[in-house]
């Protein structure tokens, strides 16, 4: 659980198959996360952010195909 937010873990979350997932430690649920926005069925919020080159983009630009968003950080 200590390394739940290490980038490697996050990338693994995107890449690995069931075998590794089964070895992952159980993660604690977040208080009230399901009740927080955006709920399932709601549109993406209009939020600005940056691409890796530092250019500003808007979340709405991600429409047009199925998209997976995963949050994480170096620690």
């Amino acid at each position: 659980m200590k390394c739940r937010c290490v980038a490697a873990t996050v990338i693994w979350c995107l890449f690995l198959d069931a075998a590794l997932a089964a070895q992952a430690p159980a993660r604690p649920p977040m208080a009230g996360f399901e009740q927080k926005k955006p709920a399932v069925g709601e549109p993406l919020p209009e939020v600005r952010l940056f691409n890796a080159a530092g250019q500003e983009v808007n979340l709405s630009s991600l429409r047009g195909q199925y998209t997976v968003l995963v949050f994480g950080c170096l620690t």
Binding site: L14, A21, P28, P29, M30, V40, F50, N51, G54, L74
Partner: protein
């Protein structure tokens, strides 16, 4: 997952956000978007990532808009509607999501099919030279604003400020000041120069002791350990921020520069919900009794009404609530995750339920 579903038109974005656990691998919270983008570049390079990376703003707009979880996961449909969400990224569940939404792939990628690089933490000068400070009790990060425009050079050293619950609630308590070298600048403490020093300025009637300090004199020529201090504070006016000024000599590891730096911060005694939790990176406090801690956690968890691992303070008895309020580091009115894991019995043992008196036998 990317390898299997990108060819089917699914886009994957990794969203880089505020550090959840500053100090792990030496990384400290960035002060500017340029520094956060540098974190992204480091992570991309170290991991050999193929997916697109996006970076949250320094005001953490995206993190707030998506529920503030450290490693959450969302699936968006082509119309831009959220069709799946979970608090913690789960590759098994995500694969099932994509199978139901897009279709199964004939040969799902296996772990051994990937050549994942291993992460090498940033290299720094000698560590474990200066003993770490063990904080007395629970501390939470407070809003710390570097005065960026007043400095002509980067903040090679970054200040992290935490307050204990007494200071946050009553305006009188303890304040932690941790000065950390930022590994992205590859600098070290120059121990041949005068040690770093700090001073705190505050409103006239605010008491701070000590209001200034100096790092230790270290015999080793260079090291990268944080310089840590705890000061007593009694605020006269909460609305007036404290100003902390730090002076140090910054030297890069390649020995191309060494320059004196003075930088300031404005400190507001208000919990910073984006400040992360560095307890996971700290050496564990010695448990007085592992068994006692375990029993106490079980006792606290017995009030977890919906069995989600989170105990609402409103659900526990008064006596236990008084004890748990001090452990509620992020002041969200609940004890969860790290707060529960680091729970320690108070002096005198864990809180006990009130014993119901047996009715007196009839005379």
């Amino acid at each position: 997952m990317y390898r299997d579903y990108a060819p089917l038109g699914v886009k994957f974005h990794y969203i880089y956000k505020a550090l959840a656990h500053p100090e792990i691998n030496g990384y400290v919270s960035p002060f500017t978007i340029e520094e956060r983008l540098q974190h992204v570049a480091i992570a991309k390079a170290q991991l050999g990532s193929q997916i697109d990376w996006l970076c949250d703003t320094m005001t953490n707009d995206l993190k707030h808009a998506f529920g503030d979880a450290p490693n959450s996961e969302f699936v968006i449909d082509p119309a831009g509607t959220v069709v799946r969400k979970r608090a913690w990224s789960d590759p098994l569940a995500l694969r099932k999501d994509l199978e139901s939404l897009v279709g199964a792939v004939a040969q799902p990628t296996r772990v051994e099919d990937l050549k994942l690089p291993s992460i090498s933490p940033a290299r720094q000068a000698a560590k474990e030279v200066v003993p770490r400070l063990r904080l007395p009790g629970q501390f939470a990060p407070v809003v710390t604003s570097p005065m960026l425009t007043e400095s002509e050079v980067p903040f090679y050293v970054k200040l992290r400020v935490e307050a204990d619950s007494d200071l946050l609630r009553q305006g009188k308590g303890r304040l932690y000041l941790g000065f950390f070298l930022d590994p992205i600048y590859q600098v070290h403490w120059n121990n041949r120069a005068e040690p770093m020093s700090f001073e705190i300025q505050a409103a006239a009637d605010t008491r701070i002791s000590p209001a200034q300090g100096q790092g230790p004199k270290v015999s080793l020529a260079a090291d990268s350990d944080p310089r840590e201090f705890v000061v007593d504070v009694e605020l006269a006016d909460r609305s007036v921020p404290l100003t902390v000024t730090v002076r140090y000599v910054a030297c890069d590891d390649a020995e191309t520069f060494c320059l004196p730096v003075a930088q300031s911060y404005s400190i507001t005694l208000q919990a910073d919900r984006d400040g992360g939790n560095r307890r996971s990176a700290m050496p564990a406090a010695p448990p007085a009794s592992a068994d006692m801690s375990s029993r106490m956690r079980q006792r606290v968890l017995s009030f977890d009404k919906d069995h989600d691992g989170i105990v609402q303070l409103a659900d526990v008895p008064d006596r236990m609530r008084q004890f748990l309020q001090a452990a509620d580091a992020n002041h969200d009115g609940a004890i969860d995750g790290d707060e529960l894991r680091t729970l320690r019995p108070p002096p005198g043992g864990p809180p006990r339920p009130k014993q119901k008196r047996s009715p007196s036998p009839p005379p």
